[in-house]
């Protein structure tokens, strides 16, 4: 791609980090923390969970770095660890009791009065609300495709499924999101008319 120079610079950092250069690892973290944190935020839903997950993911990356194969693209390798961790968290979560407002949309809507507006940046992020309502299996392909801007082939490699499956999942996810968004806009129109 464009960045042969960046690639080799990154390779040097990785080699250094492998042998215990913590400053090199810190620089790798700085490069990828945005991508990893964002992925976790979009997949898991809240900033708190996203931060815990992102911390854990980087510890895993550090632990597995010694076995990283320099032939693989580092960003794909990193996002694969991150995605698999988040999928695992979602799976675990299904085993536990979930707070009411995570299941019932209106339980949260009730809280946001006039002063509730400024509560969190999360509530202002419409896409985040829609993502939360999307079936979990669609989240990873969609987030990787549109927030992390990976190709369908790379996503297929990360999730270990055929590329055709990824395309179908993204198609269905977009369709569903489109419908939700239309619904949301109709409701908003109705409100503004009152």
């Amino acid at each position: 791609m464009v960045a042969y120079g960046i690639h080799t610079e990154e390779a040097v950092l990785i080699e250094a980090a492998k042998t215990g250069d913590q400053e090199a690892f810190r620089q790798i973290v700085e490069r990828y923390q945005g991508a990893v944190y964002n992925l976790a935020y979009r997949m898991l839903g809240t900033p708190e969970e996203a931060e815990d997950a992102a911390q854990e993911i980087f510890v895993r990356i550090y632990r597995q770095l010694g076995r990283y194969d320099m032939e693989r693209k580092f960003s794909t390798w990193t996002l694969a660890i991150a995605t698999n961790y988040c999928i695992d968290q979602l799976r675990r979560r299904r085993m536990q009791f979930v707070p009411l407002q995570n299941i019932i949309p209106w339980a949260r809507a009730r809280e946001s009065g006039p002063e509730g507006e400024a509560l969190s940046s999360e509530s202002r992020d419409e896409m985040q609300r829609l993502l939360k309502r999307l079936p979990e299996k669609y989240r990873a392909p969609l987030v990787l495709r549109y927030w992390e801007e990976l190709s369908c082939a790379e996503i297929a490699e990360i999730l270990g499924v055929p590329e055709g499956t990824i395309k179908t999942q993204i198609h269905r996810a977009r369709k569903q999101l489109g419908k939700m968004l239309e619904g949301a806009e109709e409701r908003q129109d109705a409100l503004s008319r009152v």
Binding site: A50, E51, R67, R91, R92, R174, E182
Partner: protein
Amino acid sequence: MRCRECESMLWVYLDDELPEGERRAVSSHLAGCPRCAQALDQLRAFPLQAARLHVVPPPPDFTARLMQRITPLPTPQELALQRDRPGGWQGPLGMAVAFSAAAAAIFLGLLSTAALALAGGQRLPLEFGNSASGIANAIGAGVAVALWQHLSWAVIITLVGMVATLTILWFRVVTPRH
């Protein structure tokens, strides 16, 4: 082109990633099919432009807090060597738990087979004893795999399956005698 086929290509069409021939086929189908045209509008209604997909930054102290956890760890190379050696921690512990669960399941299976034989007041035919312990073995292996992988629904389903199998065995062999 059929509607089904058209619909499956719509998002690739929107992203302008279709080969020329297919792109033209989809366009001409859309021109004559209100249903697919509406589906396309629905897809368009979901905007994936960068403006709406704003990236949320991690908290400012993220790296500092992470490095506090990284500092005490051995180097990644040392960690890789440790993992290659048989040993480590999580793996063997998980295995031990899984295998004792499996052993317990097999034992339970054999015990119940014996109990059934006693309750029935006679020796069971050989094939029955074999198939019962075979089932118990399979169940045990299933529990082992499930536990080793994750503690999840798989474990619960396996355990329920185990109980169900033993219940069926009990009613089929013991009840007819009373």
